[in-house]
Amino acid sequence: MNAALEVRKLCKSFGALKVADEIDFCLERGARHALIGPNGAGKTTFINMLTGRLRPSSGQMLLGGEDITELGQAARVKRGLGRTFQINTLFLKLPVIDNVALSVAEREGVAWRMFRAANAHRGVIDESMDLLQTLGLAEDARNSVARLPYGKQRLVEIAVALGLKPRVLLLDEPAAGVPSLESHRILEVLAALPGDIAILIIEHDMDLVFRFARRITVLAQGAILAEGAPAEIAENQRVREVYLGERHV
């Protein structure tokens, strides 16, 4: 049993519209896996089902071999499933470090404490600070997120997810909205992530995808079109037709 995350025959429809059509999918331990597909292929819906924001119509999801289909969002996070959002979903008015610390505190299970000061939880703060250090955000720790440039906010988004020490990390377009000059910074950060985390990335920036991923799955109209190593995908005629052909000339 080597799958960090496994999905069996996952279906979801909104009325007559099928946005997930019997998806079978497997994320290996320590994987660097990309999920690509044209707009409206159902990528974000897929992620939302994995994280528990959306309930699938049918099918099964396993995290580290355990069935999580019926679990809520919080329970999945507890079992090591972290995510980032396509559009920044951060605490804009709070300092950068609090963004990360809130996530670390949830994982450490101290977030219910009502009497001891947050400030006295050195473990949480140190760990958050270390994370920021790794991502090169240390000097911005006390600034509010709203004051950071967008590129850095994307990094905070990743830092918050890492604060959960996930076994599986779902990155929803980490470079979306970032000027191409800064996207290399995102790639650097992604490349430096601990090897034991299984990572599934959704991305439109093909440059980034082909440099980062060791395996690629192509989604089109809610169904898996192809899956394989980057080279295979690049060669795949059908993929080129529906997707790469239009973009990756």
């Binding site: 959002f85 951060l90 709070l94 609090d98 809130l102 977030a111 219910w112 947050a118």
Partner: protein, 324 residues
């Protein structure tokens, strides 16, 4: 000075935080004839603190907090009229009772947001009002509940005509409530409430049990509101239906915003300024004081977002900027 809590905020007391307590004690000696009003202000500060916890920190907008204030007030009244006039027991039972009501209603309504939540809170307090109005056997209905004389506190301190005991009684419980709220605001729990207010999607995504946490904060806040209500009953030895009216919730919300929300001391400054202004205006212009209060509200919204403490902060920042 905003007391927004969080992981980098320093939770130690600043010197200025002792000022309200000094002033409160000073008042006791300097202005003894204002003690009945003073007790009322202290009670409303407790109530405002409880509201600040849910509105200012957890971001739950409510017009129904009088349900819990009123529940506390009526439980204290019924307890005194039927069981015992011992004040501390009554206070404890009222606080727990209001907390339970907060838990029960919170579990039901906190799954919703926005206008629906606002209306649900409003409907709940209106429902409680109707209930108290109809259960005349217990509550006295529209005539109110009175005719009990609260025993001396611990058998030692009699509630006197000048309101000295009542004032100190309220002050002690305000101090305790303030201490509790302040601790909570600076705790990880408080930080997570702020997180929920700022972005509940993200809080869900980091695995926080958002709904449970809202329910817990709502319950604690309801218990505090109940405490305030019970204090009002015991110090005035009478309960009327107005303690359950949504007008009271609205007024309280106004006081809190006037002081500044989500900063602990806004709950001190708001009721103090509002009630003093009301006391003064209501005497000078009994028919038209509403106009003055309304004017103040409109001006505050138009020119000073963040309430009175917001102005103070802005002033200090400006002054520091100028001197630096």
């Amino acid at each position: 000075m905003t007391h927004s809590g969080g992981y980098v905020a320093d939770p130690r007391f600043r010197a200025i935080e002792w000022l309200p307590w000094l002033l409160a004690l000073l008042c006791f000696f300097v202005a003894p004839s204002y003690l009945p009003l003073g007790s009322y202000v202290l009670t409303m500060i407790i109530f405002a603190l409880s509201l600040d916890l849910v509105v200012g920190y957890a971001g739950i907008i409510t017009l129904g907090h009088s349900a819990y204030f009123g529940a506390g007030a009526y439980i204290a009244g019924i307890f005194a009229a039927r069981v015992s006039t011992e004040p501390l027991t009554g206070l404890a039972i009222s606080t727990v009772g209001a907390g339970l009501l907060g838990l029960l209603t919170g579990v039901v309504i906190l799954r919703t947001r926005g206008l629906a939540l606002l209306m649900l809170t409003l409907a709940i307090t209106s429902l409680c009002l109707e209930f108290a109005n109809k259960a005349t056997g217990w509550t006295g209905g529209a005539d109110g509940l009175g005719g009990f004389a609260i025993q001396p506190i611990l058998g030692l301190f009699k509630f006197d005509l000048f309101g000295k005991t009542a004032y100190l009684y309220c002050l002690v419980f305000l101090f305790a409530s303030w201490w509790l709220v302040r601790r909570m605001v600076y705790s990880p729990f408080g930080a997570s409430l702020t997180g929920i207010r700022e972005n509940d999607v993200r809080m869900n995504a980091v695995g926080a049990p958002v709904y449970m946490r809202l329910v817990v904060s709502y319950t604690i806040s309801a218990a505090l509101a109940g405490l305030a209500g019970a204090l009002l009953t015991q110090t005035t030895q009478y309960v009327g239906l107005k303690v359950l009216g949504f007008e009271l919730s609205g007024e309280l919300l106004v006081m809190l915003i006037l002081g500044g929300i989500g900063r602990i001391y806004g709950a001190f400054v708001g009721p103090l300024v509002y009630l003093l202004a009301q006391d003064y205006l209501a005497k000078q212009f009994p028919e038209y004081w509403y106009f003055g209060i309304g004017m103040i509200l409109v001006l505050v919204v138009m020119f000073v977002r963040g309430g009175i403490l917001g102005i103070v902060d802005a002033g200090i920042a400006k002054w520091r900027g100028a001197s630096a």
